[in-house]
Symmetry: C2
Subunit: 252 residues, 2 copies
């Protein structure tokens, strides 16, 4: 696979100059989100951009074995066009999602709220990653028993601990405080991701039956007016149906 | 396994009050790092605490199937005692490592440097996670071919891309700018982690032979005077030898 390793920012700019470009008139920045036409790792960034009311578009990779041009040879990549016209790239989902969440006010009201939001976010991210690495993209001959282990161990601990912390926050459909955050978006989108997987109905059912508190987070996210337009679009629906097709043939 | 789900902060404090406790006289905070007596996920936080000259101690879990008391039922957990005497817990390695790196000046000089440092950090973290989830703690019957795949795909792409970005930064032993950062610590500690694994010598040799630039990061971290005392301690040496023993029996 031919790989062209791109820079994150123009070579002639110092880090102080890139910072200035990023931080001047942040609201006038526009975005292109480079990824495949599936939900997967693209779902949370697209929700963030939509929620934020940003000027953004999908930059879809249509060739599934492309000549890769990216900073790490992997996608997604977020292309930022700053208010003063510089083109900056971000890679790595954690960095992209933290960045966009910060831009659009989804990291809480103070440092402790931000730490808590990032903590719940990380816990749900890892649940998705574990399932993805250990089951979905594992070898076919071990997928079934790896999924059994996920049902016996990781999933119940995640449900039990998240339910407890959500109760501590008043079972109000949010992890932290009384408003939408990156943590809420990650959990809701992880559940949507699980739906597309082999035995996904069973995973989702265990969450729904096991925790009205987690389910309330999902319903709260799903009913968020600022996400509705995006989620009712043909592009979104196509990404979900592509995910279902792709995961129907998972395993290696 | 009995699980007690603990809170992150005292119940009677608002998030604004916790923020105040965390941010007042940050340098007088002290830390306990709760984890097993192995390097693994403990190596980077312990390096950060040592580099920062913090008042800290290991809170070692000596029973390997303990009654777990933790916010998510998993370790590590960082216990912070704030200058005004509050006890706060952080969970999730990404949150703990970002937090400590920020306290001790290891996230660069401005927003763009911080974003880049977190990006390289994430890329090396994911390399370690992929190896851990897909090979080290995968089923024995697929470990060998999963490792082959790691050698064919993930590892060369990581080496090639990191080498390019390190060259762009002047091949000076640092990912960003001209000083130690969280990114440098993560890459150096990941290599130390690989050493403890099955065929670890082969992984490390491929990195060393394939990239003088990455190797220079490791040597620069290893020669950092502020890490020497910790790394020459009996506690550190014991954690490394325990890791070697543990990973000799990896696989499920």
């Amino acid at each position: 696979m031919p790989l062209t390793i791109t820079r994150f920012a123009p070579e002639n700019l110092s880090s102080a100059e890139v910072t200035k470009s990023l931080t001047t008139d942040r609201q006038s920045a526009s975005y292109k989100f480079e990824y495949f036409a599936v939900s997967g790792f693209g779902a949370v960034p697209r929700d963030l951009l939509s929620f934020g009311g940003a000027q953004w578009e999908d930059l879809l990779i249509t060739n599934w074995s492309p000549d890769v041009k990216a900073p790490f040879g992997v996608f997604p990549v977020l292309h930022i066009k700053t208010a003063d016209g510089q083109e900056i790239r971000l890679a790595e989902v954690i960095v992209i999602e933290h960045y966009l969440a910060k831009q659009f006010g989804l990291l809480g009201e103070n440092e402790w709220e931000e730490l808590q939001i990032k903590t719940f976010y990380s816990s749900s991210l890892y649940l998705r990653e574990r399932l993805s690495m250990r089951v979905t993209w594992n070898y076919k001959e071990v997928q079934e028993k790896a999924l059994e282990k996920f049902f016996e161990k990781e999933l119940p601990v995640w449900i039990e601990t998240h339910t407890k912390h959500l109760k501590d926050n008043g079972s109000n459909g949010h992890y932290v405080g009384n408003k939408l955050s990156l943590a809420d978006l990650m959990t809701a989108n992880s559940i949507d991701h699980f739906k597309c997987l082999y035995k996904g109905d069973e995973i989702v059912d265990k969450i729904k039956q096991g925790s009205p508190e987690i389910w309330k987070v999902k319903e709260t996210v799903d009913s968020e007016p600022r996400l509705q337009t995006w989620r009712q679009s043909e592009a979104y629906k196509k990404q979900v149906s592509n995910s279902q097709l792709m995961y129907a043939h998972s395993g290696i």
